[in-house]
Structure formats: C-alpha cells, structure tokens
C-alpha cells in the first residue's frame, strides 16, 4: 500500500488492468457507482419534465439533457463494471431495490417548473463544481477520461438553467414568487450535495480521487450563488447567512445535516416514490433488453 500511495502521490494514473489494493478498488468503485446512480436518477426526473417544459426550444433542450444524463449513467456504469466489484445489472438491481446510494437532491420531488429550473441551475452547478474537483486529480484513468465528457455536457445544462432562471427573474410577480419558493426548497439540498466537512483521514483525498475538501467546494458554490441570486432580487433562505466585509466572503449559517442523513438512509421526502418509479421503468423496458439478447444470440452475418 505504501508503494502504491507513493505512486499516486507522484501523479500516477491507475488503469483497470493494473494491480491495485482492494481498498482502493472498493473506494473508487463506490464513488463511481454512486455517481452513475445519480446520473440515472437525475435523467429519469428530467424525462418526466419533457412534456411539461414550456416552449419548443426548451422542450428540445430538456430532451437532449435527458439523453445526456442517461448517457452519463451508461458510461459510468461501464467504467464501474470494469472494476469487477459488481456487474452492471447487479448495480442496477441494487439501486432499484434501495440497496445503493444516489445523490441527496434526487430524494426530493420537483413539483413546479420553478423547481426544475432551480435544479438545473443550483444542483447541476453543484454537481459540476464537485466533478471538476475530481477531474483535476483523479488517479483512476477511465473515470477521469469520462469525466471530461460529462463536465463539458454539464456545462450546457447549467447554461440552460441560467437562461431559464433569467427568463423567470424578468417575468411576472407570479413567476418570481414561484421561483423564490423553489429557491427556498432547493437551496439547502443543493448546498448539502457537497456533504459535511471532509474528515482529515478521507481516503478519497489521500488516494487522489478528490482534489478538494467538501467544505472548500461548498464554500466556492456559496460565493458564486449568493450574489447571483441576490443580484436578481431573490432571497437566500439562510437566516444565518452573513457577509464578512474584511474577507469579502459569504459565510453560511449553521447547516442542519439531518435531511442529508435521511436521504442516505433512503428516507428522504421522495425516496420511496423515486426508487419505485425507477424500478418500474427498469421493468417496463425489459422488452428492449430481451430484444438485444435475441440479437446477440443470432449467428454472425459476416
């Protein structure tokens, strides 16, 4: 392990066929599996909003975003499966049975178009910030290469989110108050996506899977979004939020981690429904997998 850690410290990149300590393999696998699950769960909600997205241009963008998210999940499941810990089917079955984790934000329900815009803007940005921090150092080669593609595409999502947010910000009072409610509902879940402060002995940091501590990333996100939302005349639902004049720095009030803990236990406000929907979707699409299996069983034409 010591030699392996030295290799990682020197910027070494690990490839799937390389020898690696079991603990490293396990840690990288868990991380990628959770990322893959989150992309899939996010893609499924995105899909729900295709018929409800206002305007043809944005409806088409939602369609493209849905395909992106499902695509991200697809690529990540391939990378995760190559680690040999679980098969892709095994990972999906665990997800639909509530046995494996996905990001906290997908344990809440998006009820209005305002929610959907807040997600595209605040949540996609939070995901992007954490993915960039992984991409910067990530010692596991295949994940790093796939992240490059994912980050580029998350950039599109965030820009669509910002454009949609701007339209609402310039809209009627009804639209603005709808969006304020969405900020009230989604500010904390988005902020909690980064997780509680990193432990000093976090192996994800030690093994160069993540480059920065959770609290640093969370803070970076706060610095960006507080002035942005306030600039458009929206309020941040954090009574403890304060501006440190000397440092020129926004400081969040105390964070209640209880809701995050709930989502980890699959007991968030919308966890059961979301997992149920995902499982139903998996069952409904069985005919596609069956068709592909039948094609695989055909003799080669060539």
């Amino acid at each position: 392990m010591e030699a392996f850690e030295g290799f990682l410290d020197d910027g070494g990149i690990v490839e799937p066929d390389d020898a690696m300590p079991d603990a490293y393999r396990e840690a990288v696998f868990r991380f990628i599996e959770m990322h893959a699950n989150s992309e899939l769960m996010g893609g499924l909600t995105e899909r729900d909003w295709i018929p409800r997205t206002p305007g043809l241009r944005h409806k088409m963008a939602t369609l493209a975003k849905t395909q992106d998210e499902i695509g991200h999940g697809h690529l990540l499941y391939m990378v995760a499966a190559d680690l040999g810990v679980k098969t892709r089917t095994g990972m999906l079955e665990d997800l639909f049975a509530g046995r494996s984790r996905f990001h906290n934000v997908f344990h809440y329900r998006a009820k209005t178009w305002g929610d959907q815009v807040a997600i595209a803007f605040l949540v996609d940005a939070a995901a992007l910030v954490s993915q960039q921090a992984v991409f910067k150092v990530c010692s596991y080669g295949p994940y790093r290469r796939i992240l490059k593609r994912i980050i580029a595409e998350e950039g599109f999502h965030m820009r669509f989110g910002e454009e949609r947010m701007l339209r609402i910000a310039e809209g009627t009072d009804v639209q603005r108050s709808m969006f304020q409610r969405s900020i009230n509902d989604w500010w904390w879940p988005a902020l909690q996506l980064f997780g509680p402060d990193s432990r000093p002995d976090d192996v994800l940091l030690r093994w160069h899977i993540k480059s920065e501590r959770n609290e640093v990333l969370r803070d970076r996100w706060v610095q960006k979004f507080v002035p942005l939302l306030q600039g458009y005349g929206f309020a941040i639902p954090d009574p403890g939020l304060a501006f440190d004049e000397e440092e020129g720095h926004w400081v969040s009030g105390p964070i209640d981690w209880e809701p995050l803990e709930k989502t980890v236990q699959q007991a968030g406000p919308d966890s059961a429904r979301r997992i149920g929907e995902a499982a139903a979707n998996w069952a409904d699409s069985q005919w596609v997998r069956d068709a592909l299996d039948r094609v695989a069983a055909l003799p080669d034409v060539a």
């Binding site: 992106d68 695509g71 391939m78 290469r145 796939i146 593609r149 592909l292």
Partner: protein, 91 residues
Amino acid sequence: MRTYEVFLKPDGRDEFRHAGSIEAPNDEVALVMARENYARRAEGSRLWLVDRARIVVGDEDFVAPNADKPHRHNDGARVAERRRRLREDGK
C-alpha cells in the same frame, strides 16, 4: 453481449482516440450505441469500434524494456561538444 472499445477521430489532423467502451449484441447495434453515447455533439467525424475480446495486449513486462535502449536515441551532445572544442581551438 459484447463489449466494444470506442475510438473517435475528431478531425483531419488528429489521430483516432480512445473514447470509452460500450456494450452491444452486434456490430450494427454497437455503431448506433457508440454514436448516441460518444458523439452526440459532433465530437468526431469517424468512428472505430473494436471488440474488446479481439484486442491484442502487450503488457508492461513485454513493452517497457524498450525504455532502456539509449543506443536508439541521439541527443546531439557529442557533436555539440566537438563543435565547441573546434571553436575554442580555432581562436
């Protein structure tokens, strides 16, 4: 199901690059899967798919000894040294 490695060629200048992998039942379906997963925004104009089972692998023990063959390189140091001596002698 087969696993295919996906290679994309971005434009006339660059070489084919490994993009990732995809699972598909045959070549025909694999082409569609690869395009929809790796080239949604014109990331490449040409696509190569290689069945992972058919890849010939040269492992490190076989390939790496070539790193230690100095006679295959010439850094020009000897010529530079000789030129310098000739210059100084000519003064």
